[in-house]
Symmetry: C2
Subunit: 334 residues, 2 copies
């Protein structure tokens, strides 16, 4: 049922509000500074206006939404960390003792964590579909209800799950082809042997998917070789679109889940921007293919929405630069 909702939403996407975008563009062109001086930030303000459907773009209630889950493929030895770290990290989020919660305090944001499978990992995608149809429906439903209930004007999307850069690489490789090694990086810092195990796991998973479900595309790729939190993030992006809520994407794992939606509709991510580019080489490649230009490029590789959260003040500044600064007309008619 929920997968059907997702596919249906992607076939009839909420468009941006071009009137609010145009009104904001007109104001930008008359603001008390040299025209074009803010470049990317002006574009961000116009983008926010178009999705908030308001000529007064503002980010006053940003929310970091983190989906957490474990991965069967972790059994392949693809991470330096045991799967127990996922639960420990979720506990740190909830105790306000994590990097992203420290960032959120400075960004004026709150953080919400949703467990979609920390104690019930996805299947090992090397040998079987990662997320079966019933769980896909369930997780989409959880994500959709979560996003619908948020009081926010900017969704900052992130994840936590030991092994999930392997899942991201598998999804990206399945979606875009290329060579396995181009998509697989060191994640939290595996050594050469760990990197080889990651490459092998990705190659096996994608080959298995191509045997079991040769026509898989979009959300079904995420279910085949992604994982529970990737399905949830894809659904959250669609739910945000239904609400006309702008979304800031975090790193490689979020971007891979998002990219799958482009199989359904090439405009599926018009309400999304990349908060940052991570140190994972696959992320650079993926963002380029998706046509996304990140706000930050600081070699971060933490996940948990931290890179996108670091970009939130820039989005807030972009809006303030349009709404809190007078136009030439206003200034000289004081």
């Amino acid at each position: 049922m929920s997968r059907a909702w997702l596919v249906e939403q992607l076939a009839s996407l909420t468009p941006p509000d071009s009137a609010s975008a145009q009104a904001t563009r007109d104001r930008v062109n008359d603001i008390l500074r040299p025209s074009g001086a803010l470049a990317r930030l002006d574009e961000i303000a116009i983008w926010i206006a178009s999705w908030q459907r308001s000529a007064q773009p503002a980010v006053s209630r940003p929310v970091g939404l983190i989906f957490a889950a474990n991965h069967g493929v972790a059994a392949a030895g693809v991470s330096n960390y045991p799967v127990e770290v996922t639960a420990a990290t979720v506990a740190a989020f909830e105790a306000h003792s994590s990097t992203v919660t420290a960032f959120a305090d400075i960004a004026g944001a709150t953080v919400s964590v949703v467990d979609v499978g920390v104690n019930e990992p996805s299947n090992d995608f090397r040998t079987m579909r990662a997320v079966d149809a019933e769980r896909v429906d369930h997780v989409i439903d959880v994500a959709r209800r979560t996003v619908d209930a948020l009081d926010t004007d900017l969704l900052v999307l992130g994840e936590m799950g030991i092994g999930n850069t392997t899942a991201a690489a598998a999804v990206a490789h399945a979606l875009y082809g290329g060579q396995v090694h181009e998509w697989v990086g060191r994640g939290t810092g595996v050594d050469d042997a760990g990197l080889a195990r990651k490459q092998q796991a990705v190659a096996r998973g994608v080959a298995r998917m191509e045997r079991d479900d040769p026509d898989a595309s979009g959300i079904d790729v995420v279910a085949e070789v992604g994982g529970l939190e990737l399905v949830a993030m894809a659904a959250a992006i669609v739910a945000a679109r239904q609400r006309s809520l702008p979304v800031l994407l975090d790193g490689y794992v979020v971007s891979a889940a998002a990219a799958a939606l482009l199989d359904h509709h090439r405009d599926a991510l018009a309400h999304c921007r990349a908060g940052h580019r991570s140190a994972e080489p696959g992320h650079r490649r993926l963002l380029a293919l998706m046509g996304l230009d990140p706000l930050l490029d600081l070699d971060m590789r933490l996940g948990e929405a931290s890179g996108a959260m670091a970009a939130v003040p820039l989005v807030r500044m972009a809006c303030a630069a349009v709404t809190r600064v007078p136009t030439f007309t206003e200034w000289f008619s004081r």
Copy 2:
């Protein structure tokens, strides 16, 4: 007298506090996240610690300090804007109606503006030294007293002055050589004819300096072909060093004034970081020569400390990620 103070300071520079840096580095290596995951931000926190001389690096009172002045070389038609815009922009800062003040609200910063020659421009450097010795002394003294009086833990340095990207290009060309066209950009957006006038003004100014004062280096280059606010910024950087206060540099004009200090001592800018890289091609070239890697690269070209102010939340986050997140040791001994 004040020039002598500056030169003397640069000969006996305050060193960073290596004990605070090491204590912060030790804590970074035990923080509850994969080692190295914050990359550049960890380095920023250690840098702040070393200059704040504290193992609890924090940015709680950032101040944007903007020096404003006009330029005799504006008579060469190097800007799209008349010199009156400098005073109007200063009025907008003071009325809290400018881009940088809007940014400062979000960054948790205040903004301070110092007029060092809005109504009394520097001389036209095409035909004579931009700032005579007496004014150099006066402006250094003003900048020094201003920085000494600030209650702040991070100085965010910027400028305002119609014509000052021409002055920046002249200083950079005089310091580093190369071709004139490599240093001259469109500033606030001059057309091809304006660009040619800028190139010619820079070439004439530097050639004149090389005739009048062939041995000029460091602060004297800034006085010859820079301008009043550039002299003030150079002095502010030195005054901050005396206080062991970290400094975030804004765009091309600030960087050119800072670069001159490297003639006096190669470690003169160890307490400085580049907040952003602007759209001016000369700024990219200059930062590379100075060995500075900017936090942001968003094609902004506004000046008035705005690019550096946009980076302040990142510096605050870098500190919070070290001081507000538990170590593995702390977390598992709760």
